[in-house]
């Protein structure tokens, strides 16, 4: 759009790059080596993300990977797409601004249990309620890995850590339940040790029109190794699961004893950034003289 000083703001024109070649998993790797500890669940999530992007053949310039702070929030550096490594807790508002600026971008948000359910918890319900069309992937290791082993909002009651030497007192936050009650229109869970299934869930999340939330159990091999626990406790949703029944989904998420994997809930609802731009067709150029008439 022309600005008064003659500058042209960037025109987000969404012509897809003519792709003569098929993009492979390798094409989505930045070449930067992940900084995670050996055995970290986040490797599984990253490889699932590569797979999902390759399956969807998304042009690299049209993908933005946004994060906050934490081990999992390093993810953008390992992808060859656009990325934004922002401030602790603020990934969802940054991503919201990106989507509202250019609704045609594919925006993925990666963050941990601390980033999204503690310091950034104030933003989560609003992003979900607005139904911004982005995919939020929460890598939940139930501990603070980057700062080395303090308790997190999803730590179990009784969990002993350096900051909870006598055991965690508060009830763990249930991310799937939070997302469902806040109004997320796609809510799913995956497990980092099952990257193929997770890749399929991420594909479904990206293809979903609206705010998609994927809760991933992603164990911390260094400070809270829960692989055995999750290997034992994960299980698929019932075969006849109706993913359009919000009441049932909420009830299950609140009471489940198993750690269910798969899509809990899905619905179609107007997308914030499209509704906010519904006047686009009647868009006028800003003419200062006309605008100022209201003050005379």
């Amino acid at each position: 759009m022309p600005t008064p000083d003659g500058a042209q703001a960037a025109q987000p024109v969404l012509t897809k790059e003519p792709q003569t070649t098929t993009l492979t998993i390798k094409d989505y790797k930045s070449g930067a080596k992940p900084v995670w500890c050996p055995g970290c669940g986040d490797f599984g999530v990253l490889s699932a993300a590569y797979k999902a992007l390759a399956q969807l053949q998304l042009a690299k310039k049209d993908v933005v990977v946004v994060s906050g702070i934490g081990c999992s929030s390093r993810t953008p550096y390992f992808l060859s797409t656009y990325g934004f490594h922002s401030v602790h807790g603020r990934s969802l508002p940054v991503a919201t601004g990106i989507k509202l600026s250019n609704p045609d971008l594919n925006v993925l948000v990666f963050g941990g249990d601390g980033d999204l359910m503690a310091i950034g918890a104030g933003h989560f319900p609003h992003a979900a309620a607005r139904n911004v069309n982005l995919t939020c992937i929460m890598m939940d290791n139930q501990t603070y890995g980057l700062t080395k082993a303090q308790a997190s909002p999803t730590s179990f009651i009784g969990h002993k850590s350096k900051t909870t030497p006598y055991g965690v007192i508060s009830k763990p936050v249930k991310p799937v339940l939070v997302a469902l009650t806040a109004g997320a229109t796609f809510v799913a869970r995956g497990y980092s040790a099952k990257p193929n299934e997770l890749a399929a869930t991420i594909v479904a999340g990206i293809e979903h029109n609206g705010f998609s939330f994927i809760h991933v159990q992603s164990p911390c091999a260094e400070f809270l190794n829960t692989y055995d626990y999750y290997d034992e406790h994960v299980g698929d949703l019932p075969e006849d699961w109706d993913r359009h029944d919000l009441g049932k989904a909420i009830s299950l998420a609140a009471t489940e004893e198993k750690v269910h994997l798969g899509v809990f809930y899905e619905e179609e609802r107007p997308i914030y950034e499209r509704t906010a731009r519904e006047f686009e067709s009647q868009r006028q150029e800003f003419v200062l003289e006309d605008y100022l008439k209201r003050f005379s």
Partner: protein
């Protein structure tokens, strides 16, 4: 000889209603007839009830400040009388409700009218008291009743039954003045009938943002900045933009950063408490070199402070707030007119230099109205974001070390050269590098841009001055105090004092050469500002080694020209002794 430059102040409890609207209606009608107006208003922080007052200076000549004291005081109740009687100038006029207010009869012209009683008994419309007063004001001071009838019709156009009752109250008040023996000298007469613009500072900032290409705005409601959020929510969709009412100020600024990263000129507006919350994100924008504009309409602090009262006490925060070393540009518009220009320039500076630009307004400037001859939209330089045009994706360096520190910024969805915007210290690619050498180099790069800005803003536009070339006293002010300083300087020079003033619009970086030349041309320097610590004086000491005479006012009210003039006389009394 009648006086046609005078100050009217109206005070009363907002529970009765109409204190502010009576003043606004009178002001708008006068402005439509061609008079220059300059208002000041202060609301109670309470939602309903509490004392409010409105002041307007009306003149047949250009006015720059709210004036000194008041010439005409209209009080709705006893509390208003007690609060304001001391500000009534000698020879002034007191208008009061004779049933509700007992006055001291201390030499002013007095018009006691049983307003409420008339409204109740004669009009059976007690809610029309304020419109009745409006009619009395028109009759006493020479505003044609027809001009106010238009205001009433517009105001109640959706409630036909109220139009007639209010018109009746207005005319009744006007007719009533024929029974009053006029004893004062205030009379508006006729103006040039040129209709000028009447805008608040917040109106001018919003207009400047729209003109400056802002197409994304996010904000969280806060006094005295909410009007900007409301205006942008209303206007942006018409021009292809989006406005987001965010869940808090952190979300507001974070989303502004996201929108700008994605290629849209973006802004937020807040006041002190919200600005505090935004501080961490301001550092991110500076680190990741993302253009953003933040408006801080300052109010009295700290903490919740006095939300509806002005102060210039966020300067330290704007200049130095935040962890780590990071550059930012700080601008301060000096009048409603100037709010427009400074906001347009803020967008250009943000885009070119890829860093946060903070605009420091304050409650008095954001909420007051001024009559503006014409919005000056000429001579804006072309300033746009540097883009990676043509660079191959492999060779692209988002944070390339260049002579002026400005590096090409790719836009997602448009440019094929992808990168990660980093909050971590990074190399030229944007990848995390936490070595001492890289941190030093990149910090120098970011601050290097500030040297480029310094050259850019060391101009008349960003640091205008006027007055005597070899002044005995030079005044350096900033922000909304400009008008009062200007009128005080004019008054002093008329009296034969040699005085000059400079009023920089860019506070970081400082227009150093112009400031040094100005300081060198004056024997001594006075820095008046509305804060306790002398924050700008301190900034001048830190940057220029200047030891100015400080003049500080707090308490939520702006400087009057008289206060500054008195200080000039006090300082120069010694010099001329």
């Amino acid at each position: 000889m009648p006086r046609d430059d005078f100050v009217i102040r109206i005070g009363g409890d907002t529970a009765i209603g109409g204190v502010i609207s009576t003043g606004e209606n009178f002001t708008t009608a006068a402005a439509k007839l061609g008079f220059r107006t300059f208002t000041f208003r202060t609301y109670p922080a309470e939602i309903k009830g509490g004392h409010a007052w409105f002041q307007v200076r009306i003149s047949n000549r250009p006015v720059f400040s709210l004036g000194d004291g008041c010439d005409i005081l209209i009080v709705f109740d006893q509390e208003a009388y007690e609060l304001h009687k001391g500000d009534l100038n000698s020879g002034g006029v007191l208008i009061y409700d004779s049933d509700l207010v007992s006055v001291e009869h201390d030499g002013h012209v007095e018009y006691g009218v049983p307003f409420q009683n008339i409204a109740r008994q004669e009009l059976d419309f007690v809610r029309g008291t304020n419109v009745l007063i409006l009619g009395v004001m028109a009759g006493l001071f020479g505003l044609p009743v027809a001009s106010l009838e238009e205001m009433v019709k517009t105001r109640y156009k959706r409630r036909a039954e109220l139009v007639e009752k209010n018109l009746q109250a207005l005319r009744h008040g006007f007719e009533y003045t024929k029974k009053i023996q006029k004893q004062d000298k205030y009379w508006l007469g006729t103006a040039d009938h040129i209709s000028r613009l009447v805008m608040t500072g917040n109106d001018a900032i919003s207009a400047g943002a729209l003109h400056g290409g802002c197409r994304y705005f996010a904000g969280y409601p806060i006094t005295p900045a909410s009007d900007i959020l409301e205006t942008m929510a209303n206007q942006l969709p018409r021009f292809g933009g989006v406005c987001l009412q965010a869940e808090d100020e952190m979300a507001a600024l974070a989303s502004v950063i996201g929108a700008s990263y994605a290629g849209t000129r973006a802004m937020t507006a807040t006041s002190g408490p919200g600005f505090s919350l935004m501080t961490e994100l301001m550092g991110l924008a500076s680190m990741a070199e993302i253009p953003i504009v933040i408006v801080d309409s300052q109010r009295s602090g700290p903490s919740t402070g006095m939300p509806t009262k002005l102060e210039q006490s966020d300067l330290f925060h704007a200049l130095y707030g935040g962890h780590g070393d990071f550059p930012r540009i700080v601008l301060a518009p000096a009048s409603v007119q100037n709010c427009f220009r400074v906001t347009v320039l803020a967008f250009g500076l943000a885009e070119r230099y890829q860093m946060p630009v903070i605009i420091l307004s304050d409650q008095s400037l954001s909420h007051r109205t001024e009559t503006i001859e014409k919005v000056d939209a000429s001579g804006f330089p072309v300033m746009e974001r540097m883009r990676p045009n043509g660079a191959s994706s492999e060779d692209y360096l988002r944070f390339e070390l260049t002579p002026d520190g400005i590096s090409p910024m790719a836009v997602p969805g448009v440019d094929p050269q992808t990168y990660v915007a980093p909050g971590l210290e990074h190399d030229e690619h944007g990848l995390p590098r936490l070595s001492a050498q890289i941190h030093e180099k990149m910090t120098q790069k970011r601050f290097g841009k500030l040297d480029a800005v310094r050259k850019h803003i060391d101009t008349e536009e960003f640091a205008p001055s006027y007055g005597d070339a070899d002044a005995d006293l030079g005044i350096i002010g900033w922000g909304a105090t400009q008008g009062s300083i200007r009128e005080a300087v004019d008054r002093a020079r008329e009296k034969g004092y040699k005085v000059a003033a400079m009023h920089p619009r860019c506070l970081n970086p400082l227009p150093e050469q112009r400031l040094r030349d100005f300081i060198a041309s004056c024997k001594r320097i006075l820095v008046p500002e509305c804060n306790y610590q002398g924050q700008f004086a301190h900034h001048l000491t830190a940057n220029l080694g200047l030891q100015p005479i400080k003049m500080n006012k707090i308490g939520g009210l702006p400087f009057t020209p008289g206060e500054i003039f008195a200080k000039i006389e006090e300082v120069l009394a010694h010099a001329y002794a």
